[in-house]
Symmetry: D2
Subunit: 341 residues, 4 copies
């Protein structure tokens, strides 16, 4: 069985396991105050071209989204996001559990525009009873989105401009950030995120690490006491060095980017083969998630040897998701391409 | 200026002020443990034909909705309601502030059906990742709805049946309950609510009282320690007798029903006059809120002498709301009818 | 039966009932945006000699404490208060329900000193693991305290100084404020509170009103969007004018002060009689609550005609509480004094 | 530098790293639904002699305490624990952040007795105003305690009895459980915990794992939808197998017990040497944490080559903590013993 159902079916990139083994008997202070975390912070700041920003390491995506959002918002505020955003429907109400409403913007493709944010915020303040409603308190976007799409630099700059205009922090969920940064045709670099976001995170769990997300805070004043929040939300790992060692490895010699590029390339090889075979796609993702529209019969045939996700219906056909990752073997994609022909 | 903008522009029915004055120097225990509260509970149980149910008195609607819902739900559960429900958009995120997501059902008219509830609940449990989503934990409806519409007895029975089937409590918000119970053509009586709901409340604030909502709990096992919750949410009035005295008055000699009938009758008199003048309506409300569709020019003319609410647009015309209440004088409605002609 | 068990056994001062009756059929906007609220705000600002401060009206004490504290604190912060403070043990965990720990300071008499606050805050920051603990986020005091004691102006100034030094807002709970301001020997005036506190409230429920607390916010920047918070916590009364009318009445012709002075005078008359009869006291309260230490036999004898509260034991004797109020009749105190002799 | 400052200064037992490496390229489902988690559950059930209990894997201690407690308590309830309990002062208010007060019991040694629990609960219910206070909702204990002490089987049985009597769940925090179970003289076995607790956890982070806590739920009805809670609190690790593999390794061939026994033995070797050298101890811990009382001069001398924690003062001397672990080398303890002589 070849598994394409998601991008976290394996453990970690072998270099990470090697690094963990090599450092295993080192004795270090806990809670992220060790030299590996310090070094990982330095490497990430360099990669982001922001030598001053704060960098914190958390364990997983839901924890990161919740901890960041709860630390930013005041009790009467909510998080503006796409109605398909991860925080809106895939985190068991974690944001609400911290007291905040998610304010969803309907989208066709999972991306929200500066115009939509402006319209929502202005409608709030224009309403005579706005005090009876939840005040928009930050903007949350994902890059890539749940469906693998990317913002352009111009779109991010427009979001930044409306956030400045409306005094809203911009928070970017980068659970699959590597796959976005390495996609063909994107004009968004890591340094753009450091310039345009108040806070964003570089996903490790889905991009080569055992687990771990690196929260980058260019707007340091926004999260002054963030370590209390991390502890309160159960994210201050006792052996914090495990996160430092993993990000140290990922940001040494460009490993994070290389493995992301590999996943994207394998995904686009599959994309090309599907197109050549005459199939269309649910969206125009250029990242590691591909959503072809396939006949049920083909899906059933494929499912004997390949695992993948059902994503919905498109008329009489099925939308499915194939995800590649740092761990996807070219021969697995070869086999899948062969089976599709 | 004649005010029709809402149903809480005046103080209280004169009999309530008289009762407050007559009892003012009585010395009573606090926190709802006085004889007036006891008597009001007895009168309400009689009116509901449920001699056993619990009755609690709270101060206002948002407080009541929040306290009841937070006491019922477990942390991973949310409240199913119409997308136009009061808790969904008019309470500043009070439900979310207690940790719970509101699970909105899209509606055309503000009413949700048993079929919609069943579909939502079954979709939740059928989803392979349901544990990553908020579990439906109760059903919230308003009667009348925000737009003044009423459930039929058959519709409520169907909701009760699906709630039984799916093990969900049914909570009915009766902020304007009197106006619903006294509307022409309704087949829903107070005793039906006691039979069909797990918990509901009888609104006082909008129906003749200075303030106050009577929470009725036919399903006593659902809210065993509810007075802790009331206190925690700031609803345990020190001089709780003020609530007892008001509901005692409202439920003596049918006052609650008489003043509600009056408001409905005046509203329907306005309705008839508007129909006669050729205007159509946003919906078919038979309660104290009427939503005619009027030309802007007429609205502007009327606004010199009458206050009312803007409710939206219908093509080139305007949807407005006129609300009557226990306090509406027939001569005010006469004047409005005259102005419309 | 003469009731001395608490200061909220009656309704409201007759002038308040008269004002409610006189204004009953006025039609006003809701939610505190009416002319009575505006006028009450003006009168309170004048009484506080702070023409700029924000004034909000809420319904009760627990609601007020919770709404203010939740609006000030960030999620990782707690409220410093006396271990006997109302928020620490008498509000069903309302503060914790908003996500915040109460940080109690042990006290003998219910008052906390600037030195204690400084010590607690400095100990927090000096601890190497302070990020694993709750950060002190504000200071809460009551004036009078639960036991009827008063801060001196010098004590309040010292608390202000430490709050400035440590960047902590100072919040004063004035549920019984009138009885404190009118006590013999106090040097604290209402204008001192406006000068020394970031936020405080003037209690109405226990001082002549049916209900209601006036939240005064000299430090306006601290609570910029407070009406959202009030609504979210169920404190934005639909008929907000009821609060405006009551405070308008209380702050016209010094009524609030006159009725407070009356209560204190009656309490001190009882105090003198008890001293003359040879009894000692639990504390040195000069306000409307008196805590004599009495033999059980006397308590039992008194309890036939008088209600009062048990407050604890002092050796073989009992500490009891007698509370007077705006409504206490001199002849009731006469009767009590006679019974004690 | 030899580090004795805590029991999480190294990575993981080498067998765990080997297992992670050996399974690294296996493709498994996420979120704990893989075969390694299933196998680890089976092994833990066997070790606990409870073939039916639920077992869940979470990442860390604060997260585990918070998730369990928030899932058990109703909003008006609090967690009874020792005033020195981890949840009371070392988790940044995580329990309060979920809406619940911690109800501390003063203790000399960090252990709470059945009598203390009974007294607290009975005092609550006996208080006439108990509805104005937080209701005791569960009992939380640590075994070993923060100070390394152990409950006896009789003490646990007495706690179980009072919990049954008062209808309170008993939750045992076993962050250092292995070191407790293997201590000389204890009569408490893992199967006793499964018999006496409603829920407890087996700590991995401090006992040989990279991270991870195994939550055991003998009382399955108590936590019916617990996976929603885990997800909501950010504890549902995407690559859940990492937890399964670690606990699979720890519970194969008794590894968990062997490494715990080693740590205890080294700690008691140090204990004996300190006693022989004439030093006394802060408490009578027989587990991996030892708290000798040492002169400042000795502490300063030792601190050149050894790291340890300051725990407080005892007269003119200092209380310090030395912690051993699965990773402590006998030669490190030899060196420490030599330095003390």
């Amino acid at each position: 069985m070849y598994r394409f159902e998601c991008d976290y079916t394996e453990g970690a990139h072998p270099k990470i396991l090697e690094a963990l083994a090599a450092t295993n008997l080192e004795q270090t202070p806990g809670y992220g105050e060790d030299s590996h975390c310090a070094n990982a912070r330095r490497l990430i700041r360099e990669a982001c071209q922001d030598p001053e920003m704060d960098v914190h390491f958390l364990v997983g995506g839901t924890q990161t989204n919740t901890t960041v959002i709860a630390a930013i918002l005041r009790p009467w505020q909510g998080a503006v996001c796409a109605d398909t955003g991860h925080i809106a429907g895939h985190e068991s109400g974690a944001i609400e559990a911290t007291g905040h409403k998610v304010l969803p913007i309907p989208t066709a493709d999972g991306k929200i525009s500066a115009e939509q944010v402006r319209a929502l915020v202005e409608a709030h303040w224009a309403d005579a009873t706005h005090e009876h409603q939840v005040q928009p308190g930050l903007v949350y976007i994902s890059h890539p989105t749940e469906g693998g799409l990317l913002y352009t630099k111009a779109e991010l700059e427009a979001l930044r401009a409306v956030c400045d205009e409306k005094h809203l922090p911009l928070f970017l969920d980068g659970a699959r950030l590597g796959y976005g940064l390495m996609a063909d045709g994107t004009d968004v670099a890591l340094s753009d995120l450091a310039r345009l976001c108040d806070v964003f995170y570089i996903g490790g769990t889905k991009v080569g690490a055992l687990f771990g997300e690196a929260v980058c805070v260019p707007n340091k004043a926004l999260l002054p006491d963030f370590r209390y929040s991390i502890k309160q939300h159960g994210g201050l790992l006792a052996k914090g060095r495990l996160l430092g060692i993993q990000f140290e490895t990922l940001f040494t010699d460009g490993l994070y980017f290389d493995i992301s590029r590999h996943a994207d390339a394998e995904a686009m090889r599959l994309n090309a083969a599907l197109r050549a075979a005459g199939y269309s796609f649910w969206n125009s993702s250029t990242t590691n998630q591909q959503f072809p529209i396939l006949p049920d019969a083909l899906c059933e045939k494929l499912s004997k040897d390949f695992s993948f996700s059902n994503w919905g219906r498109a008329g009489t056909d099925r939308i499915v998701r194939f995800a590649t990752s740092w761990a996807t073997k070219p021969e697995s994609v070869d086999a899948l391409i062969e089976a599709i022909k």
